[in-house]
């Protein structure tokens, strides 16, 4: 199959992109689509970030100063939906589009037209979601988890919320199919599965997770829709339905979703740490097995989000033990990254710095995750700021730092120029310091008894809230520097990057020129059968 594509292209292999808007609207080139995904994700990151800052500004001192409670709830809900579905997931799909073909020696993604479709659905979905802010009754305010019966009280925004979630799901499913088909069919001839780079592996696993759970979410929200408009009572106790069933279905989607957002970051870090340690990745195969185990376990732990709904004891015990088990493969990954650095010759360019920050701070998020698995303690932690601290530690210095590391790592390959290393390091330090100032005090707030999703709080929570708010504003402003660095790099103001970019990195992406030509690997790369790809 890849041979056929290669032949078709070899006759006019110097052709570049179409000029003007057609290049983007009709895009089928994986690099163009990857770029669009990344830009879209950055825009959404700032929209969601702005909402986070509204939340933190209101929470700066006790008392209501800036917004009303209902608008506050709209902000928490929209912040989460936009960050999860608009920022983190599309960022990783963007990276997948750009890098997977380059890393496996394929000329493009397997299904380029579907690729176009899956991207262009997203701006539509988020326009619909964003427009709900201006509808009567306001935007959805029942939390991103959309628990009934509360979510059914949403105003005119309700059907638009459901429809936009459907669209996001469609986009993700198409993206996932594309990734799977590409990886399974279009690898370079000698690249056996276990020779694939970790980023490709983690994305393959992620794509299967997406394929498995996005339809579940679509089903759940469709049942919400019929409950509201067509007289069904799936989740309404008064009609014989069960509000808790929604939570089971939602978290059957929601927990794998957590790994959908972190596994590609694991892959990114597994590419970067070896490069800057100048050592091969330690335990490549056990990393693959660990990621697969995490993916499997993610399907049988969902009810740990629901330890206070009143499950039978045996159910609670099962979900506690299963959840604790996840610590084992996750630990294996952390230990393998540490072993990769061990006795290496490390240098600390920005991608490495973000990866190291990931390593430390994601592990802290892992520790609080382990604590949350312990049911008796979780009864205290549940729905408190401790949970907010936990998932922001795994999502911000976890997923988002993973994306940042990836962007710094591969940007010279994309643009042909280095970013400004000094500014990159400043961006790293500001981000790392402020992320801790923002989220670490939230552990204390939660333990001291502050519930999440409240617009105002008792005065004993004032100090840590002020610190967290100050940190959030600092973190938000630091990200403007990131935009500046990216724009500078795209406008080619930095030093010219060589083909290898870094010091002898491993992987096929470093065998094509920088910037990567519009068409790459029109004939599959030849690699001697014995050589290790990773």
């Amino acid at each position: 199959m890849s041979g056929a594509i290669a032949n078709a292209h070899s006759k006019h292999d110097d052709h570049g992109p179409v000029k003007g808007w057609r290049r983007w609207l009709y895009a089928t080139n994986h690099k163009d689509i990857g770029t669009m995904y990344l830009v879209f994700s950055l825009v959404m990151f700032f929209c969601g970030g702005l909402m986070a800052l509204i939340i933190r500004t209101e929470l700066f001192t006790p008392g209501l100063q800036f917004v009303d409670p209902s608008f506050f709830n709209q902000m928490t809900t929209m912040h989460a939906l936009i960050m999860v579905f608009g920022a983190v997931m599309p960022a990783f799909v963007g990276l997948a589009n750009w890098m997977i073909p380059l890393m496996i020696g394929a000329p493009d993604m397997a299904l380029p037209r579907m690729n176009n479709w899956s991207f262009w659905i997203l701006p539509v979905a988020f326009s619909i979601l964003g427009s709900t802010l201006f509808m009567s009754g306001g935007a959805p305010a029942g939390g991103w988890t959309m628990y009934p019966p509360l979510v059914l009280q949403t105003g005119d925004a309700f059907p638009f919320l459901i429809f936009s979630v459907h669209l996001m799901g469609l986009s993700s499913i198409m993206g996932a199919i594309n990734v799977i088909v590409t990886i399974v069919n279009m690898r370079a001839p000698d690249m056996t599965l276990l020779k694939m780079p970790m980023f490709v592996w983690t994305w393959l696993i992620t794509a299967y997770l997406l394929l498995a759970v996005m339809p579940v979410l679509a089903g759940a929200v469709t049942m919400l829709l019929t409950d509201r408009f067509f007289g069904t009572s799936f989740f309404l106790a008064a009609g014989g339905g069960d509000p808790v069933m929604f939570q089971h279905i939602f978290w059957f989607f929601g927990h794998p979703e957590v790994y959908i957002m972190i596994l590609p970051a694991f892959g990114v870090v597994s590419e970067i740490i070896p490069t800057f340690s100048r050592k091969p990745l330690f335990g490549h195969d056990s990393m693959v097995y660990a990621a697969s185990s995490i993916a499997f376990l993610s399907f049988i732990v969902w009810a740990h989000h629901m330890f206070t709904v009143g499950m039978p004891l045996t159910g609670q015990l099962f979900f506690m033990f299963a959840t604790m088990l996840i610590a084992v493969p996750t630990g294996v990954k952390v230990f393998n990254w540490t072993a990769t650095m061990w006795k290496g010759a490390m240098t600390f360019e920005t991608p490495m710095l973000f990866s190291l920050s990931f390593l430390f701070l994601f592990t802290i998020g892992g520790f609080s995750g382990l604590m949350l698995a312990i049911v008796p303690a979780d009864i205290q932690y549940h729905d408190s700021y401790f949970v907010v601290a936990h998932f922001h530690y795994v999502l911000v210095p976890g997923s988002i730092f993973g994306v940042m590391a990836a962007v710094y790592y591969w940007m010279p390959k994309w643009t042909g120029h280095y970013y400004n290393e000094r500014l990159g390091k400043i961006h790293f330090w500001l981000s790392t310091i402020f992320v801790n100032v923002t989220f670490f005090p939230m552990h204390f707030l939660g333990l001291a008894g502050m519930p999440r999703r409240i617009p105002d709080y008792a005065t004993q929570f004032a100090d840590f809230n002020s610190i967290a708010s100050a940190g959030a504003i600092g973190f938000g402003l630091s990200q403007l520097l990131f935009v500046y660095i990216v724009i500078q790099c795209v406008r080619k103001s930095g030093a010219i990057a060589s083909q290898e970019v870094w010091d002898k990195p491993r992987g096929l992406e470093w065998t094509v020129p920088s910037p990567a030509p519009y068409h790459t690997f029109e004939t599959p790369p030849e690699v001697s059968p014995g050589a290790a790809f990773p």
Partner: protein, 272 residues
């Protein structure tokens, strides 16, 4: 807005004492199970600290010593079966050590048999309703007036001047000290969650469901908590206040309530 923030910062610095309550940990609470919950929380926490010392220690050691600027020459080893087995096995053992006491405590938490008193708690948007089963005593519990006035946007009332801001109610749930109180939870509209940190008790109030849990408070006093499950606009304004009193005082209070009067005894604070 910036001026407001600045004044807030200033106010915070000056009135530091008013806010100063740097609680950083879970309360030990006033029931035996809350103390055990605290114990488990701390045990797991210290395990995490110990693991962090080892893992972060190794990372930091490596970061300091294995850097190119120090002339490190990279080794090329890339796997070790023994290492993988060791760092898979040890976490499993540590997890088992944590899991056993947790499971034991869970069994105790679920044991709602033989209660001395049963209270049916119903969640409403946005207040609680308490009914003492078999006693013909029931009442609503809503946010206290001083907080109600101060919570409005730009109310002009400094929350730090309001006693127990957002954590005070008009009618408290009164229970006798040392009695096993069974709590039955349900809701009239959306899902709420009844949480009192000092009692280590949190359970969802779900429409159509009757959830069950219990506590036995060993120390008299007033314990405050909040609704923990997002329940709409005023989710942040439906506190839970439990007053634990001596058994005799409780009997007196219960008799007064049965008199049919609206409950006033607890609004002013201590029971007489």
């Amino acid at each position: 807005m910036i001026r407001k923030l600045c004044t807030s910062v200033l106010a915070l610095l000056i009135a530091g004492d008013a806010f100063a309550d740097w609680a950083v940990n879970m309360p030990k609470g006033v029931t035996r199970l809350s103390a055990e919950t605290y114990e488990i929380h701390m045990v797991v926490f210290w395990w995490c600290v110990a693991i962090a010392v080892v893992v972060f220690g190794a990372m930091i050691w490596s970061l300091i010593n294995h850097r190119k600027s120090k002339g490190a020459v990279p080794s090329q080893f890339s796997h070790s079966m023994i290492a993988e087995v060791i760092w898979t096995t040890i976490p499993v053992i540590i997890l088992l050590i944590m899991a056993v006491p947790s499971a034991e405590l869970m069994i105790k938490l679920e044991d709602t048999r033989d209660p001395d008193l049963t209270v049916v708690i119903t969640g409403y948007q946005w207040k609680w309703h308490y009914a003492y089963q078999g006693e013909d005593v029931s009442f609503y519990s809503t946010l206290a007036r001083p907080s109600m006035a101060a919570r409005r946007r730009n109310s002009g009332i400094d929350p730090s001047t309001v006693e127990n801001y957002l954590l005070d109610v008009d009618n408290r749930l009164v229970v006798p000290k040392g009695a096993k109180v069974r709590v039955l939870l349900t809701s009239n509209d959306v899902i709420h969650s009844w949480w009192v940190p000092e009692l280590a008790m949190k359970k969802d109030a779900i429409p159509g469901f009757m959830n069950e849990t219990w506590f036995r408070a060993e120390v008299s006093g007033v314990y405050r908590g909040q609704c923990a499950e997002l329940c709409g606009m005023d989710h942040g304004y439906m506190p839970v206040v439990v007053e634990v009193v001596e058994r005799e005082a409780f009997e007196v209070w219960l008799e007064n309530e049965k008199g049919g009067a609206t409950p006033v005894a607890t609004a002013s604070g201590e029971l007489k």
